[in-house]
Amino acid sequence: MSRALISSGGDRRDRDQQGAGVDMSTDLAGVVLPSAVLTASGCAAAGRELDAFMDITQLGAVVTKSIMLKPRSGRATPRMSETPSGMLNSIGLQGPGIDSFIENDLAWLAQRGARTIVSIAGETVDEYARLAAKLRNIGGFEALEVNISCPNVADRGQVFACRSESAAQVIQAVRRGSDSRMPIFAKLSPDVTDIVEIADSVIRAGATGVSLINTLLGMVIDTRTMRPALAGVTGGLSGPAVRPVAVRCVWQVRQAFPNIPIIGMGGIRSGHDALEFLLAGANAVSVGTAVFNDPGAPARIHHELAGLLSDRGIAQLGEVISYAHRPEVDLGVSPLEPGSGFEDWDFISE
């Protein structure tokens, strides 16, 4: 078994049956999801449109577009620009507001039988608290994801996620406003000097776990018009281009916090990419930009991942979570199978 785990194999887009026997479930702070593959906030709306391309009830969960207190028109267009292996977006959190969201979107998801993680966003600490209160007693979702990559109106537009204190204030407010059993994931921005410090502050403030990563702030200038390509000037970079940054963030936070649940994301477009995040320490993964390229991507990635785990002789997805953190010299003793010997190994040199 250990041999199969170390030697890599399997075709990247192998949509095979061998994965059928693998237990793909994952545990996020006591919430057991049948699949570790989720959608990413803002890349799946509220699930309805994607249901035409895959059965959304088979997903670990639909993570909904960050919802604000009031209806919001978002930023002017152009709102996106394609970049090498990625894209820049500046949507500005367009959405119907929490009341309409609860009445229409959340109700539809519940009726459809999908598991849901609700993402919330605000411009003030109080707005986050009021969102948590609105969602407190209605049920119909598994967890809250708190998008703190928003400008804080009270702090000259500084992004909450970029300062430990403001990040903690938001999480504390959401924690107080929510049922004490509700899992709360703080979604962090990679645009910080030390992501572990921010993770530490949100966990102390009551976050159950963290979601890593939101987009990186970027900019494109159109050389034809000689102006910024986006009406909003700057935008968030996502897609495969950001994947190494995201894997690094998951790795660092996992190293500092061996036991907190982590939802990993950033440029995942294949089962291989998903596996990389699990190995770095993610308990589940979200698929964002890849959905724009392949609307069926989350389902495909689930199957590819199952195939890769099966190739490696793994019966339960949880076995690979954080596996890349094992000690470098393990003297032939794999943590997965303590008794396995040296002779089982495949060496790269063969």
Binding site: R12, C43, E49, S73, G74, T77, I91, Q94
Partner: protein, 285 residues
């Protein structure tokens, strides 16, 4: 319901400055209506182009062993369309469709003018045929910057009662723009409905001219789209609803065909302050 299929390229031929690709489209061609569009993934699985490109459905057919097929007309603009233009017979591309809201067709045999700018005439072929089948009168005004950028003029001549051609440089037809010829076409044919597809400034002008003459217009818009299926919110524009309220609506799901008198053409690229959820409302309050 849209479908996602791996599609085989059956043919790629030059038509003026355009490349017309015939693609297998099982389950897509069968339900496609005039005005629907499709999206194609660019450059294979590991492509650095992560976003799909949108194309209007030009023609649909049923071809024996292949089942439903469809044609698109491609103008080479940048990397993606360059790659697409290089596809050859038997190449495989990922195809999603049919997407969006198609043109709505009149119940009675009314008089219609169809206006196409550049490759904007591509979706008008199916539309003209459907309108004729319903007993409508079809007149056409087709224009482009220059002759090589006119699309499908010969074929359109067969479908229309009259065809007016304009080019910016006068290399074919009348020198000028389609919108210069539109007013006269409407008057001549006692037009009830104008259908249009082309660049946004052209559509804005078509809508203005039609509305001024109290003629109903339907315009297929072209906004930059990241997903094409309604999940990302990049493709929005300000549209007035039945209730008179302006909303930023998704052109991929609620469009690309909109009533010309409902789109706030002058405000595209902005958030009008009276739109639902506009930032200005916060200030007022």
């Amino acid at each position: 319901m849209p479908e996602q299929v791996m599609s085989e390229v059956l043919d790629n031929r030059r038509v003026g400055d355009y490349h017309v690709l015939s693609l297998t489209a099982p389950g897509i061609a069968e339900t496609a209506r005039p005005g629907h569009f499709v999206t194609l993934a660019m450059g294979g699985e590991e492509s650095s182009m992560v976003l799909r490109r949108a194309f209007a459905i030009h023609q649909i057919a049923s071809r024996g062993v292949y089942g439903g097929t469809l044609d698109i007309a491609v103008a080479v603009q940048g990397l993606g369309t360059k790659w697409l233009a290089e596809r050859r017979r038997h190449d495989v591309v990922s195809l999603v469709g049919p997407l969006g809201q198609p043109f709505s067709l009149p119940k009675q045999g009314v008089s219609c003018v169809l206006v196409g700018g550049g490759y904007g005439s591509a979706p008008l072929f199916m539309l003209a045929q459907d309108l004729r089948d319903r007993g409508c009168r079809v007149d056409m005004v087709i224009g482009a910057s220059t002759e090589a950028k006119l699309f499908g003029v010969l074929e359109l001549k067969r479908l229309a009662s009259s065809l007016t051609i304009t080019t910016d440089d006068g290399s074919a037809g009348v020198r000028g723009r389609v919108t210069d010829a539109l007013g006269e076409a409407i008057d001549r044919a006692a037009t009830d409905v104008v259908y249009a597809c082309g660049p946004m400034p052209m559509l804005a002008e078509v809508a203005r001219i039609s509305t001024k003459r109290r003629v109903f217009s339907q315009c297929a818009v072209e906004e930059s789209m990241a997903c094409g299926i309604g999940v990302c919110m990049t493709c929005v524009l300000p549209v007035v609803g039945d209730d008179g309220v302006t909303r930023m609506v998704r052109s991929c799901i609620d469009g690309p065909v909109f009533r010309g008198d409902r789109v706030r053409w002058q405000d595209i690229g902005t958030i009008p302050s009276d739109a639902v959820g506009a930032p200005d409302q916060e200030v007022v309050r």
